[in-house]
Symmetry: C2
Subunit: 600 residues, 2 copies
Amino acid sequence: MLMKMSSLFLRTLREDPVDAEVASHRLLVRAGYIRRAAPGIYTWLPLGLKVLAKVEAIVREEMDAIGGQEVHFPALLPREPYEATGRWSEYGPNLFRLKDRKEADYLLAPTHEEMFTLLVKDMYSSYKELPLALYQIQTKYRDEARPRAGLIRGREFVMKDAYSFDVDDAGLERSYGLQRQAYRRIFERLGLEYVIVRAMSGAMGGSMSEEFLHPTAIGEDTFVRSPGGYAANVEAVTTPAPEPVDHADLPPAAVLDTPDTPTIDTLVEVANRLHPRPGRPWTAADTLKNVVLALTHPDDTREIIVVGLPGDRDVDLKRLQAAVEPAVVEPATEADLKTRPELVKGYIGPAVLGPNGAPRDEAGDGAAGAVRYLLDPRVAPGTAWVTGADAEGKHVFGLVAGRDFTADGTIEAAEVRAGDPAPDGSGPLELARGIEIGHVFALGRKYAEALDLKVLDANGKAVTVTMGSYGIGVTRAVAALAEANNDDRGLVWPMRVAPAQVHVLATGKGEEIFDTAERLSRELEAAGVEVLYDDRPKVSAGVKFADSELLGIPLSLVVGRGLADGVVEVRRRASGEREEIAPDLAVARVRELVDEALAG
Amino acid sequence: MLMKMSSLFLRTLREDPVDAEVASHRLLVRAGYIRRAAPGIYTWLPLGLKVLAKVEAIVREEMDAIGGQEVHFPALLPREPYEATGRWSEYGPNLFRLKDRKEADYLLAPTHEEMFTLLVKDMYSSYKELPLALYQIQTKYRDEARPRAGLIRGREFVMKDAYSFDVDDAGLERSYGLQRQAYRRIFERLGLEYVIVRAMSGAMGGSMSEEFLHPTAIGEDTFVRSPGGYAANVEAVTTPAPEPVDHADLPPAAVLDTPDTPTIDTLVEVANRLHPRPGRPWTAADTLKNVVLALTHPDDTREIIVVGLPGDRDVDLKRLQAAVEPAVVEPATEADLKTRPELVKGYIGPAVLGPNGAPRDEAGDGAAGAVRYLLDPRVAPGTAWVTGADAEGKHVFGLVAGRDFTADGTIEAAEVRAGDPAPDGSGPLELARGIEIGHVFALGRKYAEALDLKVLDANGKAVTVTMGSYGIGVTRAVAALAEANNDDRGLVWPMRVAPAQVHVLATGKGEEIFDTAERLSRELEAAGVEVLYDDRPKVSAGVKFADSELLGIPLSLVVGRGLADGVVEVRRRASGEREEIAPDLAVARVRELVDEALAG
């Protein structure tokens, strides 16, 4: 059935929607692809649904190609399985929870690890049945605190989630690799630029995880990359520890009065005046800043910790959070500080912290003992520092790590900066932003253990299955595609996901124009080309062109005044190229351009 | 990718699931098509999902063929639109309600009239843009009191819901007719027997509605049909009123003591003894039973009513409920009866009821005045009755309707029985049961008025749009197909919806058997036939045949011992027919049988 603009359920908008912050949201709404139903919840209109279906089809083909088997789980699920893995509470307010008429607890699933684990447990029992890869393309729910950017962070969204089941680690590695490779093909077929970055597993658990990020300035995730190919999201960046420095020749540390040092800069100035270092003046990077934080552990106990890092860097709470999972970190409060009078605000030094500090609490009641002290890896053995002397108005100068103080360990808590060296030596890092369009997790045995998924191995012994979990935000991928493919006049869809391949425009008034445009539309359809035909009789050519550019169909075929001279015009949306051609040759030419684009 | 049993995510069960009451539920679970996740909530396994996708594709094609445009709405929706139409509360406990993190009210939509109405209001403004038909295939939620029979009455299910928008009644009639015709084609293509029955619109509102029922003994809906083609669900059956009877010659009514008449039968016996009717003895059908009921109106007021009907029939509460919508009816309680002392239990008669009873409450405070009295249409003017005399131990004999008493109106509250005459004179009714697989509603202007959907007509005047709403239970249709197509060995899918078209079985031990089976499987796929290949190496022929019959794929191709003699066997699941054929001819023969079945 030929899709005609005169009857298509579509209303393009000249004005941007007031709540639209990013191009994809603005344009998808203006071009009539989606419509907001509630915050973070969207309705798909006819053209939008066609794009979504094409993206889904590509995802499905690549999942099938690696032997993935499609299933479909409910979105409405009982509490118990999520209780068993702890996620019923771990998800906090992000989980939509509800009760049925019998007051039983249900949730709207944000992801389905538990259900897949239970299903496989229910059906399989032998290693011979593994490996197994299952997937679904299904609607997910997350009650985001700040739904934003249209489809990019929604509360109801479509996800492809896949799960692999293997009997051993080598199997998981193979399954993970297959999925990773399928993801590469999916995003390549979608024409969606991506960077694979190392990621932290976070609440999902597991040993290894990578994100597929689509680089864009409006992305919510910050990541780093080096010229030599290192890439990681900021949470996963590790800091290369400097080589230990020989400190045999270093003078002893000196404690001095430093009354007027409210900032790192003033402290550096004082250091260079009162305790100069020959040949290498102190800088902010030589000061050791000790930051007090509070951890809430899963058992609800609260612990005060101190993180020591060079004074020229701030703590990045997101990185620190990722490092302390499953504990939750926040800056220490005044109340927290009162429990630790040895921490002299502004003058905290290593002397009262960690292994250097008060004797450990052998009784284990948690109240006594030194505060746990974790150091940035840059505070390497043999390096000398200016830091607090644990007394009001006093700092210590030339305190040498390893000689004068130690810590309970290192931690990745400092901010990452452009120019920092990549941990693998592949050059200086640059920072960029991206949208997370895929995420692969080697989950390991966390879910299988919690839900007791075992199979018999070759020796008849019950072994816990090891799993992977692999997600693609399908609706988010549509947004990323719109974000990557637009200009000031509208959307510019790649051929593979466009809602139609050619937009036939009848511009002008003669009956012959409309007859020819309709005939060519039908011939194009007969040639297997997907057509949208703008047959609106009383709409000006200007409005038709503007609508066409807003809709962003890759090719247009304009049947207008030129017809009298025996020509129609083929336009390419992306490049703006135009070519005049005889009507009789137009169908073959469009077919050719479509094929070129699909092959490219 | 060839679908092989050795890796297919499938586990057939020899035992029926304990909670399965009907064949479709039992077999779909045993054959590994679906799996229960929670009461009334199912997971679709690979084979099940293939059937579901085929049913969806047929529905989609027929919706597209009548110009329907597909969209997709969220399932999670805000309260406000449903509040505006009253359905937020009317749905009662059937609606899943929840709150988001900001304590805003949401629901999981059971159907989407409100959202479609608002979407069209948001986008359209002129009669020129109508008619419009939109549809979606989408997951719906209803918190059923008694989820049952697997997919037949679920709490999360897939529905195709369509909505039409017209500027006038003639347009709605056309739109309704188009949808109705599309439904006929859908069920015909699915090979699913159906009966179109008149239905009540109920809570949906509107003027006209018909159900598509699939006749089956396990159906939840009772319907009637006559030899002449009348069909209606029981709620919608109207009772032909007898012609008024000339009562000029009838004797006056007599009130008599009737102490020992605990039942209708004893009353009839007493009537024939104490007050015989010449030539035509009293029967139970001549007694007038007055049943007290309580209505709760939408404004929460409670009203006592009495329904009078022949003593040989019971009140059918479902019919009565449909007749009093939107009020809710229930049998009167003892407490209700106390408010109406004039109702003498066991001896209620027309004298104290309706227009015959206490004077009307002119003040309108609802407390005084006669109880509203509604009569079964069989109590026609001129008919004589034996009924209560409103005094303990007394009945009245020969009370004539129209002469001795009247009522406030008639009502369809009596049970319908096999043999009752069809209201259109097309013969005696038979009762049957069915599953509701589709429902078409001419909604009219109820939703458009509640949500103010207007367009400008040809004269520039704003007119309220008139709507239709059209639903097909897609997951339920899969259940109905399984219900209609099975035998004692398993499922027997029609070719158009089968998860595969041919089941290739390698039965035997020789390598040649497996090589040939795999080669034929691949050749069949190359010939466009959908194949499931049972390649399991250590599974006996008996188990393979049993699994194959349970799965119900229409054709099977058995490569086994006969191969040594140069033959393989083609079997038809439905008829059991078998034919031996040379392996080289098997692909063409299967292709031919598939084509025949698809064409049929």
